[in-house]
């Protein structure tokens, strides 16, 4: 835990900015550089920064779920994304698309994207868990 005033003041804003940026990178990832892994890393570093500034237990409280639970949900999402193919009669992990309209705008949604969400959560969960364990030890 670092007690400099500047860092502790800036950290919450930095964390929220990084989290928003991580979601941006995640969504951008389908056809441009970005994606679940890098987005997850950015989110995990956001939590790590918050942990360095304000201590580990506020991060755990703010997360509500334990980081490994987040990773578990991500793994489940990834598997579900692959299993959807079963109902469409195509091999496992085939990318399937739907094009629903929201307020007149066509939004392409894909199982690939669902899988990417899963990756994002797995990476966020595991790396945050490791980072928080390291920071906890540091503080002792």
């Amino acid at each position: 835990m670092m007690r400099t005033l500047i860092f502790r003041t800036v950290a919450p804003y930095l964390t929220s900015l990084m989290l928003v940026f991580s979601v941006f990178v995640l969504l951008r990832g389908h056809n441009a550089p970005g994606g679940g892994f890098i987005g997850g890393l950015i989110a995990a570093s956001a939590f790590a920064i918050y942990g360095i500034a304000c201590g580990v237990s506020p991060v755990r409280r703010a997360l509500r779920l334990h980081p490994t639970t987040i990773a578990g949900i991500g793994l489940l999402l990834g598997s579900v994304a692959g299993l959807i193919s079963l109902f469409d009669g195509v091999p496992f992990m085939t990318g399937l698309w739907i094009y629903p309209h929201f307020f007149g705008v066509e939004v392409p949604l894909a199982t690939v994207m669902l899988f990417d969400f899963g990756v994002y959560l797995v990476v966020t969960g595991t790396i945050t868990a490791i980072a928080l364990v390291l920071e906890e030890r540091e503080g002792e």
Partner: protein, 125 residues
């Protein structure tokens, strides 16, 4: 280009082997990380280095109309990077824990699991 890459990869391997020969865990860890990067470069070179465009098929075509870069090594490297990154994170925690619990990062002094001067097992019934 391949020759230059081969030399670079060779240097990476040499550095990593030198580091892994050390007795200290943290140096071994750095050695393993550099080894991972050496392998990534190796995969990249194994996919052939050519002057080429990105492997994107233009609109209206079924096949790319020019020689494109090989996308597979990059996918393999990405997977390998992800794996080696997570291993690095885990090993870092493990090395840190080992240093805290055992009070040393010298592998010669880590003899808890295999103590020296153990008694000889019974020689008769």
């Amino acid at each position: 280009m391949e020759a230059l890459m081969a030399v670079v990869i060779g240097i990476f391997f040499a550095v990593s082997v030198y580091l892994m020969l050390s007795k200290h865990i943290i140096r071994i860890l750095l050695g393993v990380t550099i080894l991972g990067n050496a392998v990534n470069l190796l995969i990249f070179t194994a996919g052939r280095i050519v002057h080429a465009v990105p492997p994107i098929i233009g609109e209206g075509n079924d096949v790319p109309n020019r020689i494109t870069a090989n996308p597979l090594p990059q996918a393999l490297i990405l997977t390998a990077i992800v794996i080696s990154f997570s291993f690095f994170a885990f090993l870092l925690v493990l090395a840190f824990r080992a240093y805290q619990e055992l009070g040393t990062d010298d592998t010669d002094e880590m003899r808890i699991a295999e103590p020296e001067n153990e008694p000889v097992p019974p020689l008769g019934y």
